[in-house]
Symmetry: C2
Subunit: 212 residues, 2 copies
DNA sequence: GTCTATACGCTGATAGAC
DNA sequence: GTCTATCAGCGTATAGAC
């Protein structure tokens, strides 16, 4: 049950109103530049309600964080169920993340762009949160099956998804003007097949083929 | 002239003391969780001095930001001068950044890990700052020379350096336990030569060779 | 230029009526 | 459960002595 219902009938539950307002504000101004009063005003509820439901500002952030990581984790899980090879899985996941960046910008921004340690010091680092662990598992599985060469799993995961995550950041920062989905295929192919033509380092010929 | 002198003789200039203290505090606690009093105390100077030299907390951040981006920009410049191919340039830069992450952790953390937009809203996004522009130029040059396939320069830059930047973040978050320099070569090779064995997508055999 | 002491707005949080 | 009114503390910034 997604906490965010678009175009819901008037009487939207108060929790959702608060979370929605907080997400928008946190993403646009940054957690520390948003006061409880701001959230209260934008959500159209009173301060009392906020403290009743979430116990304070940090409580809102915690709830938001949990919800969104869950949603993302579900996404990764679905990708792993519907595709079996690491190649297809990573290609699909990158495409989906890129689409999300355009259609549900705030969610992606909060998860990939916020410094959670600064306001949720007790939470473990985001890289060790479930969705990111799943990505690493995905890579390890592919490595065990020989789809990619043996090596450090962290390095392989960072290589496979680091470029995509970087592009998401560039897009969120307004540096990239094209919508990400247009770049998904190229981004995945580049990292999967390698950037270098390879003449110097690996003496194999004819590798600069299928590139667009 | 680096603003940070290690083991300098006692009477270290007051500006440096302030900047050094601020950098350490900003990185360890986050900008918004540090007060001017904290900086003042740690630097061993008075509040008055801070306002005299930098005009306030934001002034410190601005100065720091400028200094550190400059240093990083110099680094990239030197790499471009001492190497001519994109392959060698990117390999060297990744190795140097990984070494910096171990030896001058705070600098890398401030540049790669901080959300500057949250406290320096007037600065352009960091991805469009000089050192990052230089990296992109580096890639475009390599593309023009045919070292890598034609394509979107942003995608290629993100692919080439995104994995390394991701590894730096993992290391700064304490998720990675090995010192980065040990992983530098593998990280670069993975992205340069490609992760996928390539059977399905690019029908070429025998590519899983030189990987460690 | 450096320092101490002080002012004051804002923020997170609570009390208590409805 | 929801609201309004209010509090106490902190954090930035300034005034003014040395």
């Amino acid at each position: 049950m997604p906490y965010l219902r678009r175009n819901a009938p008037r009487p939207e539950p108060i929790d959702c109103r608060i979370l929605t307002a907080a997400l928008e504000l946190f993403v646009s101004r940054g957690y520390h530049n948003v006061s409880v009063h701001d959230v209260q005003r934008r959500a159209g509820v009173s301060i009392g309600s906020i403290y009743n439901h979430f116990g304070g500002k940090e409580g809102i952030a915690k709830a938001l964080y949990g919800h969104l990581l869950n949603e993302l984790s579900e996404l990764v899980k679905e990708v792993m169920e519907s595709h079996k090879s690491l190649g297809e899985r990573s290609r699909t996941l990158i495409r989906l993340l890129f689409e999300f960046t355009e259609t549900r910008r705030d969610i992606i921004a909060f998860v990939f762009h916020a410094k959670h340690r600064e306001f949720l010091p007790d939470e473990p680092p985001i890289c060790s949160a479930e969705p990111f662990r799943r990505m690493r598992d995905m890579v390890e599985e592919g490595m065990a099956r020989g789809e990619i060469g043996q090596g450090n799993a962290w390095v392989a995961t960072a290589t496979l998804f680091g470029g995509a995550i970087r592009l998401i950041q560039l897009r969120l920062d307004g540096v990239l003007e094209e919508p990400l989905p247009e770049l998904a295929e190229e981004a995945w192919e580049s990292v999967w097949n390698g950037l270098g033509a390879g003449e110097e380092v690996v003496p194999l010929a004819g590798r600069s083929a299928a590139r667009g």
